[in-house]
C-alpha cells in the first residue's frame, strides 16, 4: 500500500517536471527585434475560454483594468491602453504573445506591466502589501495562462 503511494508520488513528480521542462522560463523568452515571441511558452495550445477568464479577473490578468474588451462581461473597463476588440485582425499570434509577455519590446516605454517577467524590478514588493518581496517573484501569469490569453485574443475578430 505504502509502496503504491510512493510510486504514484514519484510518477506525479516526473509528470510535473516533464511539464516544467517543456515550458520556457520568463528569463529564457526570446523576442524578435519587433517584439514578437514566435514560439509557444508551453508547447500546449491555449484555451480561449480560460484566457477570457484570466483577462476579466482582477487577481489574474485583469486586462480590463486598462483595456476595453467588449467580449468580456466585466463592468467599468478601463481606457489606459487601446481597445482589444478586433485585436486578432491587427496583430499576429506571435505579436500578441510578445505584447502579453512584455509589451515594452513592442512599444518602447509602454506603461503596460509585463505579464511574464520575474525581474529585475526596482524595489519589488510582496504583492500589494507595500513590504519588500521576501524571495523571487512569480510572474503575474504562468506560462499556460499567457498561452490561454493569447488564444483568447486570437478570437477577437471583427472582419
Amino acid at each position: 500500500m505504502n509502496r503504491h503511494v510512493a510510486w504514484a508520488a514519484l510518477a506525479a513528480t516526473f509528470a510535473a517536471s516533464a511539464a516544467f521542462a517543456a515550458e520556457t522560463a520568463p528569463m529564457d523568452v526570446k523576442f524578435t527585434d519587433a517584439g514578437e515571441v514566435t514560439d509557444s511558452l508551453t508547447g500546449q495550445p491555449g484555451d480561449p475560454a480560460k484566457g477570457a477568464e484570466v483577462a476579466a479577473t482582477k487577481s489574474l490578468g485583469n486586462c480590463v483594468a486598462c483595456h476595453v474588451v467588449s467580449a468580456l462581461d466585466a463592468a467599468f473597463q478601463g481606457n489606459i491602453g487601446p481597445e482589444l476588440n478586433g485585436a486578432a485582425d491587427r496583430w499576429s499570434e506571435a505579436q500578441l504573445r510578445g505584447i502579453v509577455v512584455d509589451a515594452k519590446h513592442t512599444f518602447e516605454g509602454s506603461v503596460m506591466p509585463s505579464m511574464y517577467k520575474t525581474g529585475p524590478f526596482i524595489r519589488p514588493g510582496d504583492g500589494y502589501t507595500g513590504k519588500a518581496a521576501t524571495g523571487d517573484l512569480a510572474p503575474i501569469l504562468n506560462a499556460q495562462q499567457v498561452e490561454d490569453v493569447v488564444a483568447f485574443l486570437m478570437t477577437l475578430k471583427e472582419e
Binding site: 473597463q77 489606459i80 524590478f121 524595489r123 517573484l137
Partner: protein
C-alpha cells in the same frame, strides 16, 4: 442580412466606445468657490519647469464626481472641517513641560499661520527639507517640551488640516532653486522611476494618463495642493506621504515610509508641479 446586421451593430458599438472614450478624458467644467466667498484656482498654465511634460495643471477636484465636488464647495458639507476645528481648538491648548500652546508663540492661527501651507515643504535653518509635520513636531519637542505626534496620528492630521485651511486660495509657493534644488532633483528622479512588479512611475498614471480610467478609477494629475484631504474611501484624513505610500504600494513595490527622505523629496517635486494652483485647505476625494 445577418452579417450586415451584425456589422451595423459592431459599427454602432465602435462609435459608442469612441464617444465614451472622449467622455472619459473630460474633466468637470466647474469652478471651486468655497462657501461662495473663497475662489480657488483649480486650472492653470503649467510652470516653466514642466515644459514638454504638461501644458496645463489641474486640481484633482476637477476629476471627481458632481457629488464629491459639491462636498468641497461648502464647509457644512465638507467632512474635513470637523478635523480642522479640532486642530484649531488644540492650537490654544498648552501641552508639555513648558506649559505652552501654539498660540503662545504664534498668536491667532488665522494670522500667524496664513500662507504657511503654500510654502511646504521647505528647508529649515539647517538646510534639511521639512514638511509641515516636521515643523509641528519641532515646536512640540523643542519649544513645548511635549511628545512628538506620529506622522499619521489623529492629532497631527487635525493640526495639518487646521494649518492648511489658513492658506486657502493662496497659490502654491514652494522654493525649488538654490539649496532646495538637490532635493527637487531627487524628487523628480523618484517621480519618473518605474517601481515594483508593475513597473509604474508616478508619471505613468498622472502625467501620461490623467483623465483616463483604470477600471472605475478616474486618474487625475496627482496634484497635492488639496492635501491633506478627506478621503471617502478611508472615512478620514489622508496625508500627502500616506497617499504616496498607497500609490507605490499599488505598483507591487516596497514603499517608502511617511517621513522618509524620499517622500520629503517627492513632496517638494510634486508640490512644484502644482505651481499656479491654489491651496484648497481640506480637499474631498473618493
Amino acid at each position: 442580412m445577418t452579417l450586415r446586421f451584425s456589422r451595423t451593430i459592431l459599427a454602432a458599438t465602435a462609435a459608442f466606445a469612441l464617444s465614451s472614450a472622449a467622455l472619459h478624458a473630460e474633466m468637470a467644467e466647474d469652478e471651486l468657490n468655497i462657501n461662495g466667498d473663497t475662489p480657488i484656482v483649480t486650472k492653470a498654465p503649467a510652470a516653466a519647469h514642466l515644459e514638454g511634460h504638461l501644458d496645463e495643471v489641474y486640481s484633482g477636484w476637477l476629476f471627481r464626481t458632481d457629488d464629491t465636488r459639491a462636498m468641497e464647495q461648502d464647509d457644512f458639507d465638507n467632512p474635513i472641517m470637523i478635523y480642522a476645528e479640532k486642530g484649531m481648538d488644540n492650537w490654544s491648548v498648552a501641552d508639555g513641560s513648558e506649559g505652552k500652546s501654539c498660540a503662545d508663540c504664534h498668536g491667532d492661527i488665522s494670522e500667524g499661520m496664513k500662507g504657511v501651507r503654500a510654502t511646504m515643504p521647505k528647508l529649515n535653518a539647517k538646510g534639511e527639507l521639512w514638511s509641515m509635520e516636521d515643523y509641528i513636531n519641532d515646536c512640540r519637542t523643542n519649544r513645548m517640551g511635549a511628545e512628538a505626534w506620529g506622522w499619521d496620528s489623529g492629532a497631527m492630521h487635525n493640526m495639518t488640516v487646521a494649518l492648511s485651511v489658513q492658506s486657502r486660495g493662496m497659490p502654491v509657493n514652494v522654493k525649488i532653486d538654490g539649496d532646495a534644488a538637490p532635493f527637487w532633483e531627487k524628487g523628480k528622479e523618484i517621480y519618473y522611476t518605474r517601481y515594483g512588479q508593475l513597473e509604474l512611475s508616478c508619471a505613468s498614471c498622472h502625467e501620461e494618463n490623467y483623465g483616463n480610467y483604470i477600471r472605475a478609477d478616474h486618474l487625475s494629475q496627482g496634484q497635492i495642493q488639496g492635501f491633506p484631504v478627506y478621503r471617502l474611501k478611508n472615512a478620514g484624513v489622508v496625508s500627502i506621504h500616506n497617499r504616496f505610500k498607497g500609490c507605490i504600494r499599488d505598483t507591487r513595490a516596497e514603499t517608502y515610509s511617511p517621513g522618509s527622505p524620499e517622500f520629503h523629496a517627492l513632496e517638494l517635486y510634486v508640490a512644484s508641479r502644482g505651481m499656479g494652483l491654489d491651496i484648497e485647505g481640506g480637499g474631498v476625494r473618493p
